[in-house]
């Protein structure tokens, strides 16, 4: 039944706006996430410039609060999350031997809503009214009583829209991994990165709706005079903290688990050894995901929940260190006795291990509730979460990008510049954040825009600022590497590291549109490595060559997200003092907001009514020959 349906295949910009190909969507995530990373990084450097000496006047207190808030929010939601999604999109379907994700259309929708949500949030800089209540946006600081301009509205609406994208992206990956695995790819043969992508997606599914509700409640308080967090109306400010952290703590594991997956792949490949304790790794990942939901109140030890609650949350938090420790030992034992190659990808992975351990140790220190009364809201906490997020997640992302770059783009990154990137970034990172532990212990509070002379803070803050610039230099090296590499010929082979173990290395780099000409038959864990050991040339196919069905591209996801963007804008400026009667009318009566929502809903209806038959790629095109296979 290979009758082809006529389908428009776009080129150029239109191709990128309409693509439903997970590999291209991965690249879009990478570009957008990278862009927001640069913005967040710039904000971080401005923060560090302000703090390099006591009583500095580089930026004022208000601007400082805005920079700090936007730095945290951007890095977590708009930089780290999308780059994780970039790797998941680029690699997970390849690792399970799938031709596509379960919902290509929804996948593209996820990207565009994230992108327009992030754009809305960052437009606040141009609008001149920037969120300034911290990435945690605690009330009453973020309430309409104490935060009168539109900054927090941008936060609420931008994150709401971006959050929708993340949520549907998570569902897409869950279904993809459950339903689309190649024959023989049982759950306990799945590569570690796919496993972590699976658990992370599950955490997204169960954590993000809580954030949605929190943001809706805050939005209602701010825009429609609700009383969720308004104490005068009977509201409860601690409720916000609970809702935020019920989402927020799982979120930090959403971030770190994929990094665990990357590190497992990279270390195993470059040690030329099977991952040590694979099943205990899987178990630890699941357990971390599970426990991640029971510890949120460790962010609230000083709120006064009482000794019983604090003790329980304290113990639950410390428990997480157990599965995490299992992982650390497994990585070390994987390297043990292996023939290790220190490629730049592996340098990042090996650098990750001790760095992340340090973050874990301070985590357990923070988990001791009585001690946390001392650490809380000090630079010690800042040091802790940067060790786990930058020293953990970001090093993991760098490792993954260097490792999979040839698979994504067909060209390997330059190894020399890669190593330069690693060393500058790694040293810069430790310079920046190691001293912050001691600043915290000496009593320097977090989230302050300046400090007095003579408190003993000066030298360490200077060191921290120098380190931050070194990290910036490392990032510049990485960008140079991308440019240099892009200018080189596209000559990466199927298995450019030669020691590839998993399915993505059995197909050309970059992967063709349909990924696998023939669905592979998986005969064990480390599917490709097993075939190599058995002396086979690549994977054996599970099916004859035949026409391959592909989904058609669509502009609807883009339009739907534009609709949400317009709606967000409409709500934001509903109560604005426009000096034009017409404009004030269409915003004030929610006509703009309604129009935006109508665009989105209209596109949904079109999508439902119009059947997507997709198109077929014929065997001749797949084999590159005119003959039938």
């Amino acid at each position: 039944m290979a009758h082809a349906h006529p389908v428009k295949r776009h080129t150029g910009l239109m191709d990128w706006l309409t693509t439903v190909d997970h590999k291209k969507i991965g690249i879009l995530y990478l570009i957008a996430g990278g862009f927001f990373f640069l913005i967040g990084g710039l904000e971080a450097l401005l923060i560090r410039v302000q703090l390099w000496k006591p009583l500095n006047n580089f930026v004022g207190a208000d601007t400082y609060n805005e920079l700090l808030t936007m730095h945290g929010t951007t890095m977590i939601f708009l930089a780290a999350m999308p780059v994780i999604f970039a790797l998941m999109n680029a690699i997970v379907p390849l690792q399970i031997g799938a031709r596509d994700v379960a919902f290509p259309f929804v996948n593209s929708l996820g990207f565009w809503t994230f992108f327009f949500g992030g754009l809305l949030l960052n437009i606040s800089w141009l609008a001149g009214t920037v969120p300034d209540a911290g990435w945690t946006s605690y009330v009453p600081l973020a309430s309409p009583t104490y935060n009168v301009d539109k900054g927090v509205d941008f936060y609420v609406l931008g994150l709401q829209i971006a959050g929708i994208g993340t949520l549907i992206g998570g569902i897409n990956f869950l279904v993809t991994i459950i339903n689309m695995r190649a024959p023989g790819m049982s759950f306990m043969r799945m590569p570690m990165f796919t496993w972590t992508a699976f658990i992370t997606s599950a955490l997204i599914l169960f954590a993000f709706p809580a954030l949605t509700v929190g943001l809706v409640a805050l939005m209602f308080d701010r825009l429609f005079e609700a009383n969720f967090f308004e104490v005068a109306g009977g509201g409860n400010t601690v409720l916000w903290e609970h809702i935020f952290w019920i989402f927020g703590h799982p979120e930090v594991y959403i971030l770190i688990l994929p990094a665990f997956g990357v590190i497992s792949e990279v270390i195993s490949t470059f040690s030329r050894k099977r991952l040590f304790g694979y099943s205990s790794m899987v178990f630890a990942t699941v357990l971390i995901g599970f426990l991640g939901f029971m510890v949120w109140a460790h962010h609230m030890f000083t709120v006064g929940l009482g000794p019983v609650a604090n003790a329980l949350f304290s113990i639950a938090t410390m428990l997480i260190a157990v599965p995490t420790g299992i992982k650390i030992f497994n990585w070390i034992f994987t390297m043990w006795g292996g023939s290790i190659r220190f490629t730049s990808a592996n340098l990042f992975a090996v650098g990750f291990v001790p760095t992340f351990v340090m973050g874990g140790v301070t985590g357990v220190m923070l988990a001791a509730a009585p001690a946390d009364f001392q650490y809380h809201d000090s630079y010690f906490v800042v040091a802790h979460f940067h060790y786990v997020i930058v020293g953990g997640l970001v090093l993991g992302l760098f490792a993954g990008l260097h490792y999979w770059w040839p698979k994504m783009f067909g060209r390997a990154l330059n190894e020399f510049i890669g190593k330069l990137t690693f060393w500058t970034f790694f040293i810069g990172f430790h310079l920046t954040f190691f001293v912050q532990h001691f600043l915290g212990l000496m009593g320097m509070p977090r989230r302050i825009w300046t400090y007095l002379d003579g408190l003993g803070f000066n030298t360490m803050n200077l060191i921290s600022t120098i380190g931050a610039f070194l990290m910036g230099l490392g990032t510049i090296f990485f960008i140079i590497n991308i440019i240099v590499t892009a200018a080189k010929p596209k000559n990466a082979g199927n298995d450019p590291w030669e020691d590839g173990r998993t399915l993505e290395w059995s197909i050309p780099s970059p992967a063709p549109e349909y990924n696998f000409a023939q669905t592979p038959l998986v005969r064990g864990y480390d599917a490709l490595w097993k075939e190599k050991m058995d002396g086979n040339e690549g994977m054996s196919p599970a099916e004859p060559i035949g026409p391959i069905h592909m989904p058609s591209p669509s502009i609807l996801p883009f339009l739907m997200s534009v609709g949400l963007f317009i709606a967000g804008f409409g709500f934001l400026y509903a109560k604005n003092d426009w000096n034009n009667a017409f404009v004030s009318n269409i915003f004030g009566n929610h006509i703009v907001a309604g129009l935006g929502l109508a665009i989105t809903l209209g596109c949904m209806v079109v999508r439902s009514l119009k059947d997507d038959h997709g198109f077929h790629i014929e065997p001749e095109e797949i084999t590159g020959k005119g003959v039938k296979a």
């Binding site: 379960a102 339903n179 509700v213 609970h242 209806v605």
Partner: protein
């Protein structure tokens, strides 16, 4: 026409699971409902935390709630769940006409429920229970309103599906859509059972 239409007439017993796309859709929707459960769970928690914050001089839940109206609404919505089951059963028997009719009944019942809810909300606002009156009122309208919005969306969605099946017939493409809409409708119903208990019954006894 469609590549799938040749399946018409000899549709498999569970047409919603006949294709990989269909199976993906059903599984994806189950997961989506998992997320929705967390969403409503959080709304319920917020309501429970705030429901006693009525404020001075504002009507309490005992004064406001009229169990008779709510009970009728409950019966209507529960019945609509049953009729949606009949629709899916008809689909499994391949009786497209019966399926269409049961879906229409479901939509009508959904509309009746919405009508009662709107009437109820208008009554409440007249009695001084407005969205911004108190923490109780805000969390009440948010929780019940979220549910109501879900019902409204379901009504529009199922209506569109009725039209779609009318035009395209029951195929392995349309069947998963109908099935998934049925799942959604049950979910809304279950949420309402909790709202009825937690908001109205518990609100009445204090």
């Amino acid at each position: 026409m469609s590549a799938h239409s040749h399946l018409d007439g000899k549709l498999p017993h569970e047409p919603e699971r006949a294709t990989l796309e269909g199976r993906n859709k059903v599984l994806g929707f189950w997961l989506f409902l998992g997320g929705e459960t967390v969403l409503f769970g959080t709304l319920f928690s917020a309501f429970l935390a705030l429901r006693d914050q009525v404020g001075d001089g504002n009507p309490t839940s005992q004064e406001l709630f009229k169990l008779a109206t709510v009970a009728i609404a409950t019966v209507i919505l529960l019945t609509s769940s049953l009729t949606s089951v009949f629709a899916i059963q008809a689909m499994h028997r391949g009786q497209v006409k019966a399926m269409q009719n049961w879906l229409i009944v479901t939509v009508v019942l959904g509309l009746a429920f919405l009508g009662l809810e709107v009437y109820e909300f208008i009554e409440y606002t007249h009695e001084g229970h407005q969205f911004s009156t108190s923490a109780f009122s805000s969390s009440f309208y948010t929780l019940v309103g979220f549910h109501g919005a879900h019902v409204a969306l379901g009504v529009v969605w199922i209506s569109l599906l009725i039209g779609q099946v009318y035009r395209k017939g029951l195929t392995v493409v349309t069947a998963p859509k109908v099935y998934v809409a049925g799942m959604y409708w049950h979910f809304i119903d279950v949420v309402w059972v909790f709202i009825f208990t937690v908001v109205y019954l518990m609100g009445k006894v204090g």
